[in-house]
């Protein structure tokens, strides 16, 4: 796969069809991957990588590095492709300036899961078939891949690429998932339990803004939380209220636009399950207004800028979600 991608990237660069390539770059450790812009075959040969650790969603990176006077090749996993489609819908990227190659993703490894298992001193990780071998200073360990696959990949919503110019590998399908199970579990708790749960999680927030800055839906020119003129700007959560406020509004602003790519949870240094907030909105939208997948198609009308006359009333919440 990686070799085919490199080959195509070099071909397209050589033909002049594109002048830049956006992909993943390898680093110090097997598991740390950086998104990068490549402009030459040498760079691609040296640094380009596509493996089970390339979890970074390139759509946000592409958004930040877009250039409209030249064409850029960007490799997108299914998740990234949904995010990109949403960005195109919102006129945040110029589709014409992109040459999109869809690449499959067979589930990305979450190194935090390995570390959470007490493994440290990792010198290398190799993924072979269904096994993941971890070589460390303190001994070796092998995991079945599913054990260390990231939560978002285990609950993959789709292996399709809503937007692409060409595909490498076969096009996948929309998947049946159990991604709302965690949400349902929380919904089944008492309000007191939920309050305790979220307080426990959100109180760890250090307001580093990684969730926001990594999110492909958060592309505001200036975020209201950074805008001193908005009246709600915060730089640090000086009170537990502000922790709640930031996360509620962050999720609300991407409600109906969030494609559930899971970057927010991936980047959180404090391991706050932020995707459970976004998924709550997705689950509610599906339940109240019919199934909707953001980024499934260019030009979709997001549920929060839409309505039907028969929409459920807000008191559905007081009635416990039952109309």
């Amino acid at each position: 796969m990686q070799e085919m991608m490199k080959k195509r990237a070099k071909e397209l660069l050589a033909s002049g069809e594109v002048t830049r390539v956006i992909g993943w770059k390898k680093n110090e450790f097997d598991y740390d991957i950086t998104p990068a812009v490549f402009t030459s075959a040498e760079e691609i040969d040296r640094d380009f990588i596509y493996d089970d650790f390339c979890g970074v969603n390139l759509s946000k990176f592409t958004f930040q590095h877009q250039k409209n006077d030249t064409k850029t090749l960007v490799f997108l996993k299914p998740c990234d492709s949904y995010s990109m489609t949403q960005l195109i819908t919102e006129h945040r990227v110029d589709r014409n300036a992109l040459y999109i190659i869809g690449v499959p993703s067979y589930g990305k490894i979450d190194v935090e899961k390995i570390k959470a298992d007490g493994v440290t001193g990792i010198l290398s990780i190799t993924s072979e078939g269904g096994d993941v071998h971890v070589h460390t200073l303190y001994g070796d360990k092998t995991y079945a891949k599913y054990e260390v696959t990231s939560e978002r990949c285990l609950n993959c919503k789709s292996k399709m690429h809503p937007t692409y110019d060409e595909l490498i590998g076969f096009e996948g399908e929309v998947m049946e998932t159990e991604r709302f199970d965690e949400v349902a579990k929380l919904e089944a708790m008492t309000p007191e339990e939920r309050f305790e749960f979220w307080r426990g999680e959100l109180s760890r927030c250090i307001r580093c803004n990684a969730c926001r800055n990594a999110c492909p839906a958060c592309t505001c020119e200036t975020c209201i939380f950074d805008n001193n003129d908005s009246g709600v700007a915060q730089k640090a959560a000086a009170d537990s209220f502000e922790e709640n406020m930031f996360h509620i509004i962050r999720a609300f602003h991407v409600a109906g636009r969030c494609t559930d790519c899971g970057e927010c949870s991936r980047v959180c240094p404090q391991h706050i399950p932020l995707h459970l907030l976004n998924r709550k909105f997705i689950s509610d939208i599906n339940k109240f207004y019919g199934d909707y997948q953001a980024g499934a198609e260019i030009g979709q009308r997001a549920p929060l800028v839409n309505f039907t006359k028969e929409d459920v009333e807000p008191d559905i919440v007081a009635k416990g979600g039952k109309a």
């Binding site: 110090e28 812009v37 200073l137 999680e201 800055n213």
Partner: protein, 343 residues
């Protein structure tokens, strides 16, 4: 050196907590360690380090500086400062312990930051030697010996016992206070652990990172480097690296309107944020590249220039682990040093 059996750790904690507030690293729900106020039954984390550094104890993320209260058209000024209670932080690693001395150089020099000083004076730091360093560790690069941590009291945890040794005066008092449940011991077990750890340190992947290329006087060398653009390319501009960093010390002062008046507080700032050093006229750092450069130039050049060659990094590896796009000081140092070498 005192020895306290592992099974007596709870007893030790209880003993400390009787007199002072005690903080220990403990595991949070989703698999990260954090310092928490000790309560009966709380277990110490087995993890190498907490995901946030220990700087919070002396330099918390937010801190009220002064309040203004309005009463009709009258404004009262309220100073919220009170004498801090004594507290103990237990289980600080060598890197974080070193970071306090770096922060001291910022906050305790004239003009002294009384808020910081107040906390620093009342805190007792009990460090804990490392025995299982992670692949992201590179404290040795900055001359730190993780087997011989500083602080007020140094401690070593072996299979069966905790060994403690006072380092400072404050530490002596602390050791004295826990003598009841300890026994005198020689250093054999500790030495054995140190030797074993040192062997591992030799195998760490980043052990060969060198600081020679950096230090005061190198501003001209690196400021205009071509490499910054590429290094900062993927930077999201989030504050993760700065907020998990034990030595980052920038803060912003803000006002909060409570409805009854104003709370003036300070909170950590991050040089990665687009509004960092934004002033009335605008922002002298125009792009992420410049902000990114600031962070590393500060740690590697400006700080040592003003502080007798001491670097603003302790090699704890948190930024290496936490950066969402895997960019960190290690890569910056390697890239710049290589470029310099190549010239």
């Amino acid at each position: 050196m005192l020895k306290i059996l592992r099974e007596n750790l709870d007893q030790l904690f209880a003993l400390i907590a009787e007199k002072e507030t005690l903080y220990i690293p403990t595991d949070a729900t989703s698999g990260i360690a954090q310092f928490k106020k000790w309560e009966a039954g709380m277990k110490m984390s087995e993890k190498l380090k907490t995901s946030r550094s220990a700087k919070d104890f002396f330099f918390p993320q937010t801190e009220d500086l002064v309040s203004f209260k309005t009463n009709g058209r009258k404004i009262d000024i309220i100073d919220p400062r009170t004498e801090t209670e004594d507290f103990v932080i237990f289980g600080v690693r060598a890197c974080d312990a070193k970071s306090f001395t770096i922060l001291d150089r910022v906050f305790l020099v004239d003009p002294v930051d009384t808020y910081y000083k107040n906390r620093r004076e009342h805190g007792t730091v009990v460090t804990l030697a490392c025995s299982k360093p992670a692949e992201t560790c590179f404290c040795t690069t900055f001359g730190i010996d993780p087997t011989e941590p500083a602080g007020d009291v140094s401690a070593w945890l072996t299979e069966d016992a905790l060994y403690i040794k006072a380092v400072t005066e404050k530490g002596t008092a602390f050791v004295e206070s826990v003598k009841a449940i300890a026994e005198e011991s020689d250093e054999t077990a500790v030495e054995a652990q140190k030797a074993a750890t040192k062997q591992i340190l030799d195998k760490l992947p980043i052990k060969n990172l060198k600081t020679e290329a950096f230090g005061g006087g190198k501003t001209e060398t690196y400021f205009k480097s071509e490499e910054w653009a590429k290094l900062s390319e993927a930077c999201l501009g989030c504050g993760t690296c700065t907020f998990v960093c034990p030595t980052c010390q920038c803060y912003d002062i803000r006002d909060f309107d409570t409805g009854h008046g104003i709370d003036r507080f300070r909170c950590w700032d991050s040089c990665m944020y687009s509004d960092f050093t934004k002033m009335a006229h605008g922002n002298p750092r125009l792009s992420q590249k410049e902000r990114f450069r600031q962070r590393f130039m500060h740690k590697l050049v400006y700080f040592p220039e003003n502080n007798e060659g001491i670097f603003g990094c302790v090699g704890c590896g948190r930024c290496v682990e936490k950066c969402p796009i895997s960019m960190n000081i290690v890569k910056v140092m390697r890239t710049l040093a290589k470029e310099e070498e190549g010239k």
